[in-house]
């Protein structure tokens, strides 16, 4: 019961904070935060609840971003369809790469996803439709369902906000469904889950595809926000960043990835002029989290709340 109340209060706080955010921060920055929060939540679904560490989630984020941008710029798709195109692309890519990657576990899984993502990166570097080093420009936000003009940053912000809330609730639903419970069982003890009669491969593949699709949704939304898609979205550093956000916020916690995304994206914004220092600091946060802060920010808060109650 308490767990439920905590999640409700947490959700209410998060909802109000993001709903009021554009009055305090730049909407453009707020949208960036929300997109990466979706991305980190999608990643957390896989590592936090499925126990699978993917080091290649940039391929889904990047391909979602590219296809949404291309659908908008070249085919003139309206924003809803462009975003769906991006997410659907990542779904297909998720099925293909997941089928290969789930054949191994643990660190092999991490290495395989990293290698597959690098292959996608080289594909994007060479393929004519991505514009190579230049990326895709000329993305048009247009209007939502032909009604709401999205040229206004504030209008666009609330669309992104709605996508974030929907994605967040969807992930919450998946985690608390019977499917999510089986996933947790597989994470804790896969041989036992197999002996109980679960086809664990299928569950893992399904979790991988869901995570990939949501990461693609995040990338597609980001493409509509920044009105471009580029190679940065699909490079391995992006895969590393989403791992960092989730680790810092708290792996396996519901709100951790959101908090982690906020911290990392804010840091990148405020330290942008320091150049390579951003990389050094990110590396240092990784080392610090692994050595002394494995529960992450939200994980520590939860542990503190539990201790206070006891």
């Amino acid at each position: 019961m308490n767990e439920q109340r905590y999640e409700r209060v947490g959700f209410a706080v998060m909802f109000v904070a993001f709903a009021l955010a554009p009055f305090v921060i730049y909407p453009a920055f707020g949208m960036q935060l929300l997109c990466f929060a979706i991305f980190a939540c999608a990643f957390n679904l896989l590592i936090g609840f499925g126990g699978l560490l993917s080091f290649g989630h940039a391929m889904f984020f990047g391909m979602g971003s590219y296809l949404a941008a291309y659908a908008s710029a070249a085919w003139g798709f309206p924003i809803e369809l462009a975003i769906l195109t991006g997410a659907a692309t990542s779904l297909v890519l998720g099925v293909l790469s997941g089928f290969i990657a789930i054949r191994r576990q643990g660190i092999y899984f991490a290495m395989i996803t990293l290698a597959l993502a690098q292959m996608v990166y080289f594909f994007c570097l060479r393929a004519p439709f991505t514009g190579g080093e230049n990326g895709i420009q000329g993305v048009k936000r247009g209007s939502l369902l032909g009604l709401l003009d999205l040229g206004q940053p504030i209008a666009m912000y609330y669309v992104v906000f709605a996508i974030f809330i929907l994605a967040f609730l969807l992930i919450h639903r998946i985690i608390h469904s019977p499917f999510g419970q089986v996933l947790k069982a597989i994470r804790e003890n896969e041989p036992r889950a197999i002996s109980l009669g679960y086809r664990t491969e299928r569950y893992k593949l399904a979790a991988f595809v869901m995570s990939a699709t949501l990461a693609g949704l995040a990338g597609a939304t980001k493409a509509m926000v920044t009105m471009n898609a580029s190679l940065t979205d699909v490079y391995w550093t992006m895969s590393g960043e989403v791992v960092l956000m989730t680790l810092l916020g708290g792996m396996g916690t519901v709100f951790g990835p959101v908090v982690g995304a906020m911290v990392i994206i804010s840091m990148q914004l405020y330290l942008a002029e320091l150049g390579a220092w951003v990389t050094i600091i990110q590396g240092a946060i990784f080392v610090f989290c692994v050595l002394a802060f494995r529960r992450g920010i939200v994980g520590e808060i939860e542990a503190w709340l539990r201790r206070r109650k006891a």
């Binding site: 290969i100 990389t279 990784f286």
Partner: protein
């Protein structure tokens, strides 16, 4: 058929294969005993190249000195990393080792990038290895021949050390069952530390080999290490000889692809990885 170009690409393939073999060998040795995948491997390979650059620029010590000093310096750095950080993680999920070494790699690469920017620094070839041999069907630069020869010697010495000596027998035993080996009076924690030092020392050596061929730059390790990960997945980390054969073999295949269908040369190793995973998930030489 342009045989000149074909042999040229095969030579580049063999050179790349040498680096794949040296790096995946180090990864396999470290993985065997520490059960972690060393993400810093690429960054320490780059550090090895930078150490040889510094030795030449600041101390006037040339290539041959670098071949000895760079692996020792980087190996010492590895010993410190293992003692201070990695040793705290052995009781945890192996994924934490991956995350920690990834963070360290970012710090090392970021540090070098901050100091030297992204542009490459030139490192001149030792005079004794300049020049080219005319083999009739192709021209063979002496330095490249040396790199292939030296890599082969080092790979097979490492194989001999691990598979055919008493020290190697301890190492293999500790890989199988560390607590039992410890009970026999072998200092396993020290062995683990030295193994990590040896593994990253091999990476640094590869970095010295690479310095005169490629430019010395902060990014030279990160893209290479991802390919090496794919090589490791293809070979499976079960055997030392497997790592060597897979490394050289894939280098040659990559070279051939560059000749036959250049567009695919960046991705061919990843495609092979996907195919191997479909047919034989444990890798070509992997057990289980």
């Amino acid at each position: 058929m342009n045989t000149q170009a074909l042999f040229g690409q095969l030579l580049i393939g063999l050179i790349n294969g040498s680096f794949y073999a040296l790096l995946s060998l180090g990864l396999a040795v470290i993985f065997g005993l520490l059960n972690i995948i060393n993400f810093t491997h690429g960054a320490l390979y780059m550090t090895g190249a930078f150490v040889s650059y510094f030795l030449l620029e600041k101390a006037g010590l040339g290539y041959w000195w670098a071949l000895v000093i760079a692996p020792i310096v980087v190996g010492a750095v590895g010993v410190v990393i293992e003692r201070l950080m990695l040793s705290r993680l052995y009781k945890l999920d192996h994924l934490y080792g991956l995350l920690l070494t990834f963070g360290l790699a970012l710090m090392i690469e970021g540090g070098f990038q901050h100091e030297f920017g992204s542009a490459g620094l030139p490192y001149s070839m030792p005079e004794s290895l300049q020049g080219v041999q005319n083999l009739g069907f192709m021209f063979l630069p002496n330095y490249r021949a040396w790199v292939i020869f030296a890599s082969l010697v080092i790979c097979f010495s490492t194989w001999f050390l691990i598979e055919r000596t008493k020290l190697g027998a301890y190492l293999r035993a500790a890989t199988e069952n560390p607590s039992l080996v410890q009970a026999f009076g072998v200092n396993v924690p020290r062995m683990i530390t030295l193994t990590y030092g040896l593994g990253v020392g091999l990476a640094a050596l590869a970095g010295v080999f690479a310095a005169p061929i490629y430019q010395v730059s902060p990014q030279m390790g990160s893209s290479l290490i991802i390919v090496v990960f794919a090589v490791v997945v293809i070979g499976g980390m079960g055997s030392i000889m497997g790592s060597i054969l897979t490394g050289f073999g894939l280098g040659i295949i990559e070279g051939l692809t560059k000749y036959i269908y250049p567009e695919a040369s960046n991705t061919v190793i990843f495609v092979i990885m996907a195919i191997v995973l479909m047919i034989r998930p444990q890798g070509l030489f992997g057990q289980r």
